[in-house]
Symmetry: C2
Subunit: 405 residues, 2 copies
């Protein structure tokens, strides 16, 4: 039975990669450097309790929050985005140009609803975030990889591929990129916005990590250089408030927001209202600055522990990125080690019991690219656990290299 649509077949491969990624993460005996979650110490449990207790007591407010809400999202929260998140970054937006999404991922799904016909090209970074590739594949888009270096997407290669492939969307994660932790330079940000305008291509700027920066200077988003409305800025509250609340937002021009509101209405009517209101109150009550400091302090310590441990315990010839923020570092191993194979052993071997994400899945071009790479997340474990886990993983890698000799 069941004549599934073709898209269910095209999305199967990235869907299986994602299921594979997360399969070892629920084993409590394994130290996971796999997930993309923030430190649990940074989840504002007590504040959420206090806010709910207050708002549900205000006459009439509780009824409002449990009733149907606007498709575009709660006005309170859209105003928070404008005043507390965009204005400080030099982006002057209007709350009517913000739509609230069910987590950051829904932005990719809605953008595909708006723009993607089967076979349309989306240019992505090489490597890129596999979960977005899953979404693009569900819409039967063809993902084509653009070269990256330490300054992010290489704009010369991007321009060539825009000309060659006539893409509908260029998908960029500019800040502390997933999976590499790299940050797109300011010059390239400006250039990418200009390429969007010049070639009439949508630039989808997915920027969920930008607010957790531990070193270096803030850079303007690509959207700040957009003069024609071709750049669409997507962001999320998953890293700065709570991932389980599933709240994200998109900032775009009037026409795109209007169309996105239609697509959102037809997808799920609106995002759950209670988490939207709790999140808005969290900012309006002034909790964010102190919370943000805690977020950065905790993750800076974890990043430093991971980078130092890699330098100390991984074999000579290892390359790794130094992320100024976010949750990931990207490691390229020397020798012929295949990280997909290594992962099986590192999770099962009782002397290691460490998981990570193997690199191959992040490359849409296939053909074994990234098979000696891994994404390591420092968000989920305290510094001492990171040191122990990286030492064990480093020892395993060294033993593998010895076997090769």
């Amino acid at each position: 039975m069941s004549k599934y649509a073709k898209r269910m077949k095209t999305m199967e491969e990235p869907a299986n990669i994602i299921k594979g990624l997360f399969s070892s993460m629920n084993d409590p005996d394994v130290t996971s450097f796999g997930g993309g979650a923030i430190a649990k110490e940074c989840l504002p449990v007590d504040i959420v309790r206090e806010i709910v207790s207050d708002i549900m007591t205000v006459e009439g407010r509780g009824y409002e929050i449990l009733s149907y809400g606007p498709v575009i999202g709660a006005k309170d929260l859209r105003e928070v985005v404008v005043k507390e998140l965009l204005a400080p970054k030099g982006v002057q937006a209007n709350a009517d140009n913000i739509i609230i999404t069910t987590g950051g991922m829904e932005a990719m799904s809605l953008m595909c609803q708006l723009f993607i016909e089967p076979g349309d090209v989306i240019l992505v970074e090489s490597p890129t975030f596999v979960h977005s590739v899953e979404t693009f594949s569900m819409f039967e888009a063809k993902c084509i990889a653009v070269e990256m270096d330490d300054d992010g997407m290489v704009t010369e290669d991007l321009e060539e591929k825009i000309i060659k492939y006539n893409p509908k969307i260029v998908y960029v994660i500019p800040t502390f990129q997933n999976p590499t932790g790299r940050t797109l330079s300011l010059e390239r940000r400006q250039k990418i916005a200009e390429l969007g305008s010049k070639y009439d291509v949508i630039i989808l700027e997915d920027d969920p990590y930008r607010d957790i920066r531990y070193s270096g200077n803030e850079l303007l988003p690509i959207k700040a250089f957009d003069k024609t409305g071709h750049t669409v800025l997507a962001n999320s509250f998953s890293k700065i408030f709570s991932p389980g609340s599933r709240i994200g937002y998109v900032y775009a021009n009037d026409d795109i927001i209007s169309k996105m509101t239609d697509a959102k209405s037809a997808s799920n009517s609106h995002t759950s209202l209670l988490p939207q209101i709790i999140c808005a109150e969290f900012f309006k009550r002034g909790y964010y600055p102190e919370h943000h400091k805690l977020l950065c302090d905790i993750h800076r310590e974890r990043r430093d522990a991971m980078i130092e441990s890699i330098d100390k315990f991984f074999p000579e010839g290892t390359k790794r990125t130094f992320p100024d923020g976010g949750l990931f570092t990207w490691v390229e191993l020397p020798g012929g080690i295949n990280t997909t194979e290594l992962l099986k052993e590192s999770t099962l071997n009782p002397d290691v019991k460490v998981s990570f994400v193997a690199g191959e899945g992040f490359f849409t071009e296939g053909n074994g690219k990234g098979s000696n790479c891994m994404r390591l997340s420092f968000g989920g474990n305290p510094a001492d656990k990171i040191r122990i886990g990286i030492e064990r993983l480093g020892n395993l890698i060294k033993s593998k290299l010895m076997e090769e000799l």
Copy 2:
């Protein structure tokens, strides 16, 4: 700029109907019989506050609730669906065959992701829920209307149209249908399940009103007669808990649930966890039976007030349905009155100030069908306001009929 996908064009018409529907609903001077919301007196504000206060205090629980959750939905809530909602209706399900959705609407969207290619046929009731038609249109499905009578979808016409159009999905709202308030007979429920199996067609049973019944006897869902896994049961917590929480669920066979989990992952990762856990606790703590009684008592009174007032104040020759539950009655006016025109006057006329939903938008076949019909919701107003509003609306209709003479 902006080369939108074709689906954004095909969905424009139903999207505009929906925007039209809701435009007059926010005017506080207008008594609205338009929306599909339950009485605000039935929103469990105090219970939600208490539950959040408790669960956020339990060691470790708050962190878990604010973290990423499973794509398929919280296990607690899926178990509540199985034990508290399906088992009492004679449906024996496994929690692994339940997926939690972002409101009831997301079920339609995910089902289209799974099954619909552009041009595929979905058979719908005539009339049917316009919001679902918006979703079907976004996926470029062709909606074809199946006749209804007082016992719901006419199964002879359904079988003919299955043979003629080879549809991917048959979309049915069997209980207290939106917009008519009609209930599909038990015999036809069984017949529709059998037709799904016989012709290898998915039956999408959208049943959000079934748990708010004020008179008559409960009927088994279509799914209870499904022997081959062709029926997919979609339901929602919007009517029995809170619409703004955006929580719904789907019960389907293993293969469909597995595919839906992929589509859900690519759409928004998962439904917001906090509302899922609050809702699960609401049932687990035993609040539902008393809450359910309140829901039924309040809405029964409102239904009776509306039906009695229509019979008393609407002109002779008016036809209306008698819904045993749900939120809507469907009215067919005598004479040549066009309800789309009437709506403009009834909202603006200072002696009336009443809104409803004009009938035409619920018919996918177009050509003016239902132009003398209206959907009246009795959920949103207390009985005395219903009586006053219906009297005013009845007087306006009578005056229109007089003008015609």
